[in-house]
């Protein structure tokens, strides 16, 4: 594996972990949802970088699914589970 790509993936992973702090703190459900959206975007980037690093094109399709997932959870959230209490 290309060390530069691996370092890039590790760095993106670190920035994503900052989002967990936001899930812990809240204070509203919308704030926690933001962290889930953050993981959607960083997940796409990670999948694309790893696909290039291991030289497997099929992994790029996983990135497509990540992209869809962020929107899907956001819709489920606003349709059903919204409550400012948590």
């Amino acid at each position: 594996m290309d060390p530069v790509l691996t370092a890039l993936a590790a760095f993106i992973m670190l920035t994503a972990l900052l989002g967990i702090w936001r899930i812990e703190r809240g204070p509203t459900g919308a704030d926690r949802m933001l962290a889930a959206m953050l993981f959607g975007t960083t997940g796409v980037a990670l999948a694309l970088v790893l696909a290039e690093a291991v030289g497997r094109g099929g992994l790029r399709d996983a990135a497509l699914v990540f992209a869809l997932l962020g929107a899907l959870t956001a819709v489920a959230f606003v349709k059903r589970a919204w409550g400012a209490g948590d």
């Binding site: 530069v4 890039l8 760095f11 993106i12 920035t15 994503a16 900052l18 989002g19 702090w21 936001r22 509203t28 919308a30 704030d31 949802m33 933001l34 962290a35 959206m37 953050l38 959607g40 975007t41 960083t42 796409v44 980037a45 694309l48 970088v49 290039e52 094109g57 790029r60 990135a63 497509l64 992209a67 869809l68 962020g70 929107a71 956001a74 819709v75 959230f77 606003v78 919204w82 409550g83 400012a84």
Partner: protein, 107 residues
């Protein structure tokens, strides 16, 4: 021609570095900004730009037109999904009565 190859390499790495910078800025914004709405600003703009730059870097690396197109399609999908999700969350927060943070209220 090794010098040309080196230039392309440097260009690719520059895109990665810029993309990583914007991912970091988005996460810092998510942690530092004071309310849902401002955090949404950081998330939608900064992270989408970071992903775009990483995609450009990867497209330069792959050197194939069809893969570059595919990366473009993925980026556009993330843009549309991100902007829509951002609108939905902002609207939900507004109608649930989440108060926006203002500078005056802090003084």
């Amino acid at each position: 021609m090794p010098s040309l190859e080196l230039t392309v390499r440097a260009l690719e790495y520059a895109f990665y570095a810029a993309g990583a910078f914007f991912f970091l800025a988005g996460s810092v914004g998510l942690v530092r900004f004071p309310d849902v709405y401002t955090r949404l600003h950081a998330l939608t703009k900064s992270d989408n730009l970071g992903l775009g730059l990483v995609c450009v870097g990867l497209a330069v690396r792959s050197g194939s037109a069809i893969i570059a197109l595919k990366l473009l399609v993925i980026w556009l999908l993330v843009l549309v999904a991100g902007a829509t999700a951002c609108y939905l969350v902002a609207e939900a927060a507004r109608s649930a009565g989440v108060k926006p943070w203002t500078r005056e209220a802090q003084r």
